[in-house]
């Protein structure tokens, strides 16, 4: 048993404690209260003056799969649509990315294929520690990754291949969805008779999970490309997340009324601006989206951005008007909910995984706040 005592606690579950205790046993949180009994055999972490919060969840990351230079394993850019591939197989559990994100308080990352392809492949979620990817992975698949705009255009357009335009991108997505719909209908028509089943196709099997609404599509899109995502999701009645979502402030009404929207995963910010899809980076949109009921999260696109800037960007959201407590949810329970993992992670409540971070200073408020201890599954994996 472990008891973290006397911390200021943000639970992400509609309760904060100015001073409270958290009890952990067998990797799970067993109690959170103002004062908990401490048995003799319990290990104690004295957290007086520290800020305790749920382990941070990065809802859009590529850690463990993007090495420096040419050693990347998350863009299978041999075909514009590779729904059969899975990010799980790209993740190096020994990557130096993981110790780095642990120091920043990130305990779970939703790890996606890159944006080189229109349909990039399956997305999984991993804890930041483990002896193997199998041990780290807590959900697979989480979503099917797609990408609109300049990335796939740049990869295939330069080879005079589809897609060279945004028209082509929409065509790639829609034709694959139609193909999977046919495949699914043939399977249903076969009614269990093996000789009538269509030939097995792993990519189409994966897209069928989207059509059956078992998983959302996770779409890299910015500015007006977001409207393409909305339109296609509506046409096929599939659920989706808007990832990056720069320029969302131009489309509040459309985004807030999209019935299949699972969440908006915003970021990264701090980038040079170019006309078109990099023309407007507006983290202030989170205040309005959140107030109007959209589940919002903030991402680093790791390892692109220093993982400490997940909290830094949250600070910018606070600066530009989003209430602090709402912003902390965007680092914890919201990304957990978007990934369908809120039964296990994202808040400090009895029964949840004991993923807890302690900050000196208040994250996203004090600029000097820094993570001083990271606990995953009840084990301290980093302590300053």
């Amino acid at each position: 048993m472990l008891v973290i005592r006397h911390a200021k606690i943000f639970t992400a579950a509609d309760k904060t404690y100015e001073r409270g205790d958290i009890a952990v046993e067998n990797g799970k949180i067993i109690a959170v209260a103002e004062k908990l009994p401490v048995p003799d055999y319990a290990e104690i972490i004295e957290a007086d003056g520290l800020f305790a919060m749920p382990g941070i969840v990065d809802a859009h990351s590529h850690v463990g799969g993007f090495g420096a230079g040419d050693s990347q394993d998350l863009n299978e850019m041999t075909c514009n649509a590779t729904p059969a591939v899975e990010s799980f197989y790209a993740i190096d559990s020994d990557s130096k990315d993981f110790p780095r994100i642990i120091r920043a308080g990130i305990t779970t990352s939703v790890i996606a294929p890159g944006s080189g392809n229109v349909i990039g492949g399956m997305v999984c979620a991993c804890k930041s520690v483990g002896r193997s990817t199998t041990e780290m992975c807590i959900k697979n698949p989480v979503a099917l990754k797609m990408a609109l705009g300049g990335n796939p255009k740049g990869v295939y357009g330069s080879k005079n291949q589809l897609p060279m335009t945004r028209m082509g991108i929409a065509e790639v997505i829609r034709s694959n969805l139609f193909k999977a719909r046919d495949y699914m209908q043939k399977q249903q028509a076969a009614n269990g008779a093996p000789e009538k089943m269509p030939p097995y196709d792993q990519g189409l099997e994966n897209i069928c999970k989207v059509l059956r609404r078992e998983i959302p599509i996770k779409v890299h899109c910015e500015q007006f490309d977001m409207m393409t995502t909305l339109r296609i999701a509506e046409e096929f009645n599939i659920s989706f997340t808007l990832d990056h979502a720069w320029g969302a402030s131009d489309f509040y009404d459309e985004i807030c009324s999209a019935k299949n929207l699972v969440g908006v995963i915003f970021g990264p910010t701090g980038v040079g601006l170019l006309p078109g899809e990099c023309g407007k980076v507006d983290i202030e949109c989170l205040e309005v989206l959140d107030r109007r009921g959209v589940t919002c999260a903030i991402m680093t696109d790791g390892p692109i951005m220093n993982p400490e800037l997940l909290v830094g960007q949250a600070g910018e959201a606070v600066r530009l008007g989003t209430p602090h407590e709402r912003v902390l949810r965007m680092l914890t329970i919201n990304p957990a909910r978007i990934a369908g993992l809120d039964d296990r992670i994202g808040s400090l409540e009895p029964g949840k995984d004991a993923d807890i971070v302690l900050f000196k200073g208040i994250p996203a408020l004090d600029v000097a706040a820094r993570c001083v201890r990271t606990i995953i599954n009840g084990e301290t994996v980093y302590a300053e």
Binding site: F66, A68, G69, K96, R100, G150, G154, T269, G270, V271, G272, L273, L274, P275, G279, V281, G302, P303, I304, M305, N306, P307, E308, L309, G312, G315, E316, V318, R319, L320, A364, L365, D366, V367, A368, A369, R370
Partner: protein
Amino acid sequence: MILIQEGTVHDGHGNIAVMDIALQDGKILDVGKALSYQNAEIINADGCHVFPGFVSAISVWGIMGPGWTDDDKTEGSSPITPQMDVTYAFDQDCMNFQKAYLYGVTTACVTPQPTNVLCGQAALYKTAGRTPHGMLVREKAAMVASVSDGVKKTFTKRGVAPMTHMGIFSLLKEQLEKARHYDPQKNGHDESCEALLPVLSGKTPLLVNCCTKAEAEAILALLSSYKEIRVVLSGAYGITDATPGVNEGRVSVLMGDHTESFLSHNAATQFDAIIPMMEAGKPIAISCGGDDITSGRESLLWNALHWIRHGLSVERALSCITSVPAEILGVSDRVGSIAPGMDADLSIWTANPFVTYEARVKHVFLSGNDVYTKEVHPSCW
């Protein structure tokens, strides 16, 4: 005439006091207690914090884009292009589009991308304005060189030198020697040598992008036989107080970006070794530049905050993005501090942004104009 009253003024040199500031004709006219001028427009800054306009010491704003690959920052036709000059590439629409002043950045040193051994000449610009010339603070402010892997990557894939650090350093040395022995009477006019003459004489600093410990040590070793050259190490993630030559008076540093982590050289920074040097007054500035990085308007402040999280004092962090880079880049007579005679470049915040994220910008004055609330600089982008 604009009179900013009762703000907590941070002058960029470590001094803080509640003061009034008078602005006239684009300059700071006076700084003092209870100033009084007739017909002045009054800005009440009571409870607010006032800072000198931040100086971004390395940026590609103005020479990148408009397309992802269509820009004017990389003259990669040869590894040796010291004659290139960013003033011929600077597009005010690109700079205005960034709105860097929304985060208090009023001056930026625009540098060619550090992918050549000798990349060309940098210039300092204001971050908003109508024409390139009108925004120019200082041209030919530094000669930009690079000894990082970015150079190797550029030329290796073409099968031409340099594909190693040996190649980089031999090309650099050869060009410096060529310029040292340059005689226009004998050889005819050669701009690639002419451009290096003010570097060899110490008039213009040589800004060298170096990412690793080995690169920093190697460039200081090479330049130990060029005692006149004023050396500015940029990136510089590998330096410590023990790096041979780094403590010489002619050597200053622009620490590179820490917000990006893809290239991960910046994970090696020895904060514990460098911060005492900064606090002791060694000219070490904080920048948001480096290998292939296009920073956003928030990036310079974020970098300062990163150093604060690692133990740098708040006022020194401010100096490291104001007076220190201004001094290193030779523009401290105009920007980087709040004092009479300086350009009227300053930002007013509702709280101290080096302490809390709740601090919001209220006004930004750039050459005396309030670019935050009044003057609009449109961009055709």
